[in-house]
């Protein structure tokens, strides 16, 4: 495939409740099928098992929702971004809402390498005891190291937490806000932060609010 004939677009989208439990790789296939339904001419790799050329923003942990996901797609044909947006909106599954489509320079770095950190907010189930939240947040912030185990490997969570604070929306309903590193090989997971505060992550709804790019 002649490189110069390709056209690259970036789709910004939200991942809602219905899709919370659909993983990163499954979302690729969902995108491929959504784009195929819209008859948008994706560029495919050569070889025995052709795959469409696509690139997503860093993986959203399973169970989280997001208002700031992005996927880059490469097309065989130049199309007006507005047209892509309109065609896609007719055929998106529940839980996937497209915010915008923009054309991107072919030479721009990949989404994953551009993103350096990610912001999350966390809402807690009313049954969660939050009296000690203020002090446990304080403790985590003041710790030098927070050693945790994930998939049998020990690692230090603390350097991955770039920012952690309580945002009092309503007095009885504190919201947790955090910025976690999302660099290659150094990705903080929000449910790990919640667990390190002594809370049960399965009683929290985690929502990704912002991708922080290294250009910012």
């Amino acid at each position: 495939m002649n490189q110069s004939k390709r056209h690259r677009y970036r789709i910004h989208f939200t991942k809602g409740d219905t899709l919370r439990f659909i993983g990163h790789l499954d979302l690729y296939r969902t995108w491929e099928r959504t784009l195929r339904r819209a008859r948008i001419p994706l560029t495919y790799s050569q070889g025995f098992n052709p795959r469409p050329k696509m690139n997503q923003s860093p993986a959203l942990p399973l169970g989280c929702t997001s208002e700031c996901e992005a996927v880059d797609i490469w097309l065989e044909q130049e199309l007006h971004p507005e047209r892509i947006l309109e065609d896609l909106r007719q055929v998106t599954p529940q839980g996937l809402q497209i915010q915008s489509v923009k054309q991107v320079d072919l030479r721009a770095p990949s989404l994953q390498s551009q993103v350096i950190a990610v912001e999350y907010v966390v809402f807690f189930d009313p049954s969660t005891p939050l009296d000690d939240l203020q002090s446990s947040v304080q403790n985590v912030v003041e710790e030098k190291n927070i050693l945790r185990k994930r998939r049998g490997r020990e690692y230090d969570l603390r350097p991955l937490i770039e920012h952690l604070e309580i945002d009092h929306g309503e007095p009885e309903k504190p919201i947790l806000r955090m910025i976690l590193s999302a660099r290659q090989g150094a990705t903080g997971r929000p449910e790990e932060v919640i667990a390190s505060l002594g809370l049960d992550p399965t009683f929290a709804s985690i929502h990704r609010t912002r991708l922080i790019l290294d250009t910012e």
């Binding site: 219905t18 659909i22 969902t30 339904r37 025995f48 055929v91 529940q94």
Partner: protein, 639 residues
Amino acid sequence: MTPEEVQRKLEHILPTVQKPGRYTGGEYNQVIKEWSQTPVRVALAFPDIYDLGMSNLGLAILYDILNQQPGVLAERTYAPWLDMEDAIRRERVPLYSLETKHPLRDFDILGFSLPYEKINTNVLNMLDLAGIPLMTSERDHEHPLVIAGGHATYNPEPMVDFFDAFVIGEGEEVILEIVGCVREWKRSNGARKDLLKALAGILGVYVPSLYQAHYHEDGRLSHIERLTDEAQLPIIKRIVPKLPPPPCNHIVPFIDITHNRLPIEIMRGCTRGCRFCQAGMITRPVRERTVEEIVAAIDHGLANTGFEEMGLLSLSSSDFSSILDLVREVNERFKDQHLSISLPSLRIETVSVELMDLLQGNAHRGGFTLAPEAATERLRDLINKPVSTEQLLDTAHEIYKRGWHTIKLYFMIGHPTETLDDVQAIADLCKAVLAKGRSIIGKRARVNVGVSTFVPKPHTPFQWTTCDTIEQIEEKQGLLKRQLRIPGLKLNWNDPQETMLEAWLSRGDRRLGRVIHKAWMQGTKFDAWQEHFNYPAWMEAFETVGVDPSFYLHRERSLDETLPWDHIDAAVNKQFLAEDYLWSTQGRTRIDCREHCYSCGILPTFIDLRRQHPGKTWECPEVHSPSQKKVKTLPLIQN
């Protein structure tokens, strides 16, 4: 529990289980109707996990038909995997539908698909998870009507305790008659008994509690008695005279499933008559869709789903009359769409290789599957799958020559009269195919061999014959394992104990119900999953209930014995099957019933349907005679 409560509980449960996407619903093309405005609500259930159930075409067809009907809604449910089962039992969440999270108890009809037998205990487990009494006798007007359809219901007897009704045959029309019946009954505020009697009057519907089984002193079945006039005897299977257009709004799964593709059924039935093959007998007559219809369905299906893979499905693709036209047309229309196309069940002949070549271009070179089923010409004649060894090797040659590296060969052991020499021949043939591959592409050549074990299935010419014992099977498998330990060759086989289970459940009578119940109480489920199959629990269940398992498997039936499924009429009559069984012992074959009608019984049973649908709709001979009576003596007609 309300759907909202189920949803709230799921929020906390789903982060803790594997593949939570199995339990969320919300996929593209799922249908949600207004619950309170819909008088008849149907839950379609598959008694195994989502990954398998979502690949079931029968349920997809019914989902489409039911949801197109005003006043009817259909939602889906599947067996939860072990971790999810633990979680919902712990949190007391009843089994629910994926679409709206309504507990299954809230539906009017709970319809299970039973395509094979080893999922029977999962049915009991799902009923239990739903809080629905397991036994038909324990259910009342508050409970959904629990019904089943699918190939395994051609011998419903082992499961009669648990189902209110069975559908025998094809569901496209009868499902709407059942829905109509339930709607009327709900309006009338009748008793459960009234509903069952009304259902029993629908052609193809079997309400087992309206029949009683009588046995001889030696344990053989004597006869099945009707307990009420509404009950039909025999229960004749339902067919659709003409295949309706295939559904093209398939649900698009988010997660990966077993067959993650657009399924298009091109033909139903098979004219070959392999004697071990239950599907080939019970899905007659052969009905084809036209090439135009199929291409239009693919076009719509792809536009509505975005699938990147498609399967053209039938029992024997090579026998589709216009297969070459179809392949050319599909190739022409869809070649630029990065679509991977599969065409399973091809005959062993070089033409099949040319077809695949045309269809797959350079894109895909996975394995090429051939199913000779037996390795000696004697046995292949006996099972009525006559292919010469030379033909098989020529086909293998063509496959390797055209760029495939792997050939998958499917065999069966345990055919009637099989000796160890016949089994040795399997090993020899596999080696010959591998040698063929090596001579063409060298060390890259691979042969994967799948050896399953024959179970004599109801409604086949072999229904009277015996099943090998575990010892016989182990001896034959042992021979193959020793012989086929060769680089480039991979052997797969079935656990003989699992074969026993398949045989009990497919050949059993009403007395099996108590065994199944007992086995489930001892924790059996997911019996089709090797790692979860619990043979000792089954043996213990037989022991406790006092039923002898070998009675069903290792005893040759005489031709005049009443078989547990004789009251189920698959329209291929017993006389034909008996004659074909006799022919098998003489090595006589019946090549292809398109060429020559062998009077299997389909035409006399469905004479009116055939008359109303003349021409190429069916592959059976035309019926010209206007008189009903002549039909019984229908001569063998040459096409």
